[in-house]
């Protein structure tokens, strides 16, 4: 799915300023520039606090990095981007020093560039299909870092561009959930001229961006800034409102809402169902991160408690696992360990997070899997029993299947175990709409172009449709759904219908 067709991209590339910019530096010289390194806070320093790890690029650095981009005739990077950002265009704006134009280009297709620049798995998307990676065998242009730079630059000017809004059409639509899927749907719907209300179950807006992803990776003020921008576009936010509980879909229809976008996420944490998993001190990463990020549990003036574990094991290899283990380190863990049943190479977390985790002294127990937990007489977990694994034949996902090594069990002392093996779709909405067609995994089934569900006025996207996925895919879904809803409402209100 891409935002623009090839003809349009080509015409943009032929714009005079881009042609001149290309001529300015020879390709050979461009490819000789080394990819710059993102300035970071010292690992020992940052593991003591919650400050953001990456400092961001300076203007000078960003321009040099932008010069590396060859502005290819066939920009393969764009096909690697789930929302089809016009990548060469925004990078060339940076090279030309027109940082605000770069931000605006990003916002044509991406509602939250400052967020995506920080959390997208670029190495598996745009940067993977960069000409440097594909053809030159060199490190790709740092597209993610540049995205972050342009978005931050715009935010720091204090007056971010508020997208234009069509004339208000007086039609009410509802967005359920304020995660990336909901926010991007809300933005486009407001742009089309609808009266948009976002309903959020929690007392804070932002979904996983707030309760899950920690401050050291994505500061809350960035998310709040984006939400404020939506408020400026006229989007209304209602917190502490669980659709299906506080009011039903029928109630909302009675209130005049004509269509719904469901972006309720995949909130339900999975457990392994092994002995001892309900002991005290064994908890889901969602619980751990929610306590620390949403509830402020690590700060003394906040009421919510959290245990500061000394020997902490985090089970899993994704971003959530990395966020949990690095949070544990920051809360003073002596040993903060990742336990993952496959090898390091197979870990699904972003490369940068793995790299940062290693720098911060996180231990990796790869090819290990917990089989049970033991506890003291009060039920506090004190040991985990791990079984060694080895890699066998590739499975359906193409990754080599981990196979347990018989008789290899051993014990490791722990006082906190954080289970981070994935999430299932939040069941609240499906429970309240028995007619809604669901998959056997509990996700909402939708048409992949319009995101329309089996209930015509209801559209859905993000993790509730995909299971645990990514911020950028959730946002892409939100945009597609907004277009789908727009078309649906127009067809319904066409005269003669």
């Amino acid at each position: 799915m891409s935002g623009f067709d090839a003809e349009y991209l080509k015409s943009r590339r032929e714009a005079e300023w881009r042609v001149n910019l290309r001529k300015g530096i020879k390709a050979k010289e461009r490819t000789n520039i080394e990819r710059l390194k993102m300035p970071e806070v010292d690992p020992l320093e940052r593991a003591k606090g919650h400050m953001e790890v990456n400092n961001g690029l300076t203007k000078e650095m960003a321009i040099v990095e932008a010069q590396r981009c060859l502005d290819c005739v066939n920009p393969t990077c764009i096909s690697g981007c789930p929302v089809g950002i016009n990548i060469p265009e925004f990078i060339k704006h940076i090279e030309a020093g027109n940082f605000l134009d770069a931000a605006r280009t990003l916002k044509e297709t991406n509602a939250l560039p400052a967020v995506c620049g920080r959390v997208c798995p670029q190495e598996a998307q745009c940067e993977k299909s960069c000409f440097y990676t594909e053809k030159l065998g060199k490190k790709p242009v740092a597209i993610g870092n540049l995205e972050r730079f342009a978005a931050d630059f715009e935010r720091d000017t204090g007056n971010a561009y508020v997208p234009e809004i069509n004339e208000k059409n007086g039609i009410k639509v509802a967005v359920i959930g304020s995660g990336p899927a909901g926010l991007s749907a809300a933005k486009d719907l407001a742009g089309f001229g609808y009266n948009v209300t976002v309903f959020e179950a929690l007392h804070e807006l932002g979904g996983v961006l707030k309760y899950g992803i920690p401050e050291f990776r994505l500061p809350n003020e960035i998310v709040d800034f984006e939400i404020d921008n939506l408020k400026k576009m006229g989007v209304k936010f209602i917190k502490n409102f669980v659709v299906g509980k506080t009011a039903s879909f029928d109630d909302l229809k009675q209130e005049g809402f004509e269509a719904f976008f469901v972006g309720s996420g995949a909130g339900l944490p999975n457990f392994m169902n092994i002995p001892g998993e309900n002991y005290i001190g064994v908890l889901s990463s969602n619980e751990y991160l929610t306590r620390v990020n949403l509830m402020g549990a690590a700060k003394p003036e906040y009421d919510t408690p959290v245990v500061h574990g000394k020997n902490v094991a985090v089970i899993g290899g994704g971003n959530t696992a990395m966020d949990s283990v690095r949070t544990a380190k920051r809360l003073g863990a002596k040993r903060a360990m990742i336990v993952y049943r496959r090898s390091f190479e197979e870990m699904p977390a972003r490369l940068e997070e793995l790299h940062h985790a290693r720098e911060e002294g996180i231990e990796f127990l790869n090819l290990n899997n917990p089989v049970k937990y033991l506890a003291d007489k009060n039920g506090h977990v004190n040991k985990m029993v791990l079984q060694k694994m080895e890699l066998g034949e590739p499975d359906a996902s193409g990754r080599r299947r981990p196979v347990p090594v018989e008789g290899s069990e051993y014990e490791v002392e722990v006082d906190q175990v954080i289970v981070s093996i994935g999430v299932s779709p939040n069941p609240l909405i499906p429970q309240s709409l028995p007619g809604l067609k669901m998959s056997k995994w509990g996700t909402i089934e939708v048409d992949s172009d319009t995101m329309q569900s089996s209930v015509p006025e209801l559209f859905a996207g993000g993790d509730i449709v995909r299971g645990g996925a990514t911020v950028i895919l959730a946002m892409g879904d939100g945009r597609k759904a907004a277009a789908g809803m727009h078309a649906y409402i127009k067809s319904k209100t066409k005269p003669g219908n």
Partner: protein
Amino acid sequence: MSRIVTKEFLSENVVKLELEAPLIAKKRKAGHFVIVKIGKEGERIPLTISQANPDKGTITLIIQRVGVTSHKLSMMNEGDEVTDLVGPLGHATKIENVGTVLCAGGGVGIAPLLPIVEAMHDAGNRIITVLAARNRELLILEKEIRAHSDEVIIMTDDGSYGTKGLVTNGMEEVINREKVNLAITIGPAIMMKFTSMLTKKYSIPTIASLNSIMVDGTGMCGACRVSVGGKTKFVCVDGPEFDAHEVDFDELLMRLGAYKEQEIEAYSRYLEVIKNR
């Protein structure tokens, strides 16, 4: 924001708050709960909706002072506002006419029991309610429970009111006397454990409403998990009511102690602070 309309102490440590919450009042059924949070630094705690007045747009919560948040709530006054209130959450009680229902309420558990007693009575059941408290002063909502019960038996630990003895003594007397079709037990986990053992002995189907630790109350964190019939369930979205005979009460009791140390420490710090005001 939700404004406190009326406030009343039911006993020294139990307070009743009536809050403005028109949407919740309209939707709420017996068995539902809300999550409450006070101030930016507050924690999220679950509280059962004891009563609701949809016309007036209010709900009633009954709170026992046991920690920082319940204490803060008890210090709030009419006109004050609770920062965050969300609900109604959980599954409502299945209300049907089954015949004779034996209800057991212990301590502040009598508050969540009240709406169930009321609804079950309205559905045409014969209701016998056993209320238990440590002493007469701590017994709450007797009048309201009486208004919806065919018979009320009161048990106190010290014999200062009703009969001296445990809630199970009162229940067993009824079970030996007449046919009971369903039992409902709400109170401290330890009480629910023993009432459930009793009714299991007599093969009486029993429902317990569990009071696990919660954070979000929407199924997102798993803090509230319990084992029911050997399977892990989330109290906030799968419950709060379960088949009492399948609940692992020992595990529930253990898990309720998960943050004991922190809670005690925070509460004593808090009491120190308000003392010095």
